[in-house]
Subunit: 247 residues, 2 copies
Amino acid sequence: MISVAIIGYGNVGQHLHKAFLKTESIVVNQIYVRTLSKVAHLSSNMVTNNLATLKQADIYIIAVSDDAIPEVSAQIHSKNALVVHTSGSVSIDVLDKHKNKGVFYLLQSFSKNKAIDFNQIPFCLESNNEKNDALLLKLATAIGKNTYAINSNQRQQLHVAAVFVNNFTNHMYKIGNDICETHNIPFDILLPLIKETAAKVNVLKPTEAQTGPAKRNDIKTINNHLSLLNDQQQYIYKILTKSIQDG
Amino acid sequence: MISVAIIGYGNVGQHLHKAFLKTESIVVNQIYVRTLSKVAHLSSNMVTNNLATLKQADIYIIAVSDDAIPEVSAQIHSKNALVVHTSGSVSIDVLDKHKNKGVFYLLQSFSKNKAIDFNQIPFCLESNNEKNDALLLKLATAIGKNTYAINSNQRQQLHVAAVFVNNFTNHMYKIGNDICETHNIPFDILLPLIKETAAKVNVLKPTEAQTGPAKRNDIKTINNHLSLLNDQQQYIYKILTKSIQDG
């Protein structure tokens, strides 16, 4: 049995808590939250808003905003426990005061009201020694199955890659939606294409999957498209077309 | 029974042929192709490379490249038959010499070796009168189910919107893949996020689904990300971050 304290109760903290509750090998013995009224539904001896009153646990999971990690870490007296954070963009070094430290980064976009299938989520794990690696692996495989050893440098890179495939991709959807709304076209028409585009990279590399006027250097279609767009859309269309062609 | 001639035998022509063969209400009575050797597997009295020898049909489906549509249309003597093209970016007006004309545009990215589920594909239909509308609807619902009345102006807009959600999105995947390759990270780690991002817009509008450092105006993370990217990636990161923030 591994005992865990969850420090911070935002999207990540809440989803982890729910997942650990379903396991037999992990017990959550405490949850830290700044505002106790937010966890009124939990037993009062489970929760604290004072880091000085943290009980002993095998693993302290820091699931607070990136900026707050150093301050929270400083207030944890871990003794021999493993202290991990869950951030994609913060180095393991921020936890240097702890003898046993690690990162437990779940690469997924968490939404408050959407159930998460942890079997689909990649767990990116890092720690400062093999014993801690093994402990983190136990923690991860208790609730999921896709685990990767990812060091702090790789994790930072992964985090910025995720901005491209998630935030920037979603922005492409947003522009598509804007165009549809302006011309009274149901955005639904584009959903199968969005799904297919996402599915294709499961079987083809993105460069192999690429099609369209930029790839074909179909200047007539490109110019026609530009004539249909507003200034901001035109600007992005030109830059991404050039980037596709530059390879 | 609706008789159809398919003019052109690229991805679209081939997929349509396969789909029509499975129906009881549509019969393909002829296929035109420029190079006969490409259709050596088909019965020779089914195929022609000479538009002057086209037999009568209820519907002529022009599935050639956009640039070739006017020339092919000019050589079809349709009499009372309906002549349609399958292009997303060409107006119905290119078929003006025909009394009965229309557009049969399937908004999907077709790959040669990938089976297509026509029940997932949006059929964008347009014609010059109600009788032809009804005929096109019959043709579409014989092989699929999602049909939309889309005029030539809307279709052009839809085509450019599709470039954003398909080609440009795929380019975001490509940049994500480049970053992973450079740092020995398996691109597989990003696939669940790609799938989730695409699935989200089925239930949320893209603006509502947006997350990440640009949306939060998290300048520290943005600057850190920029420091990790090469020049071209930086340039795109900056422009798309600004575009997300401009809303």
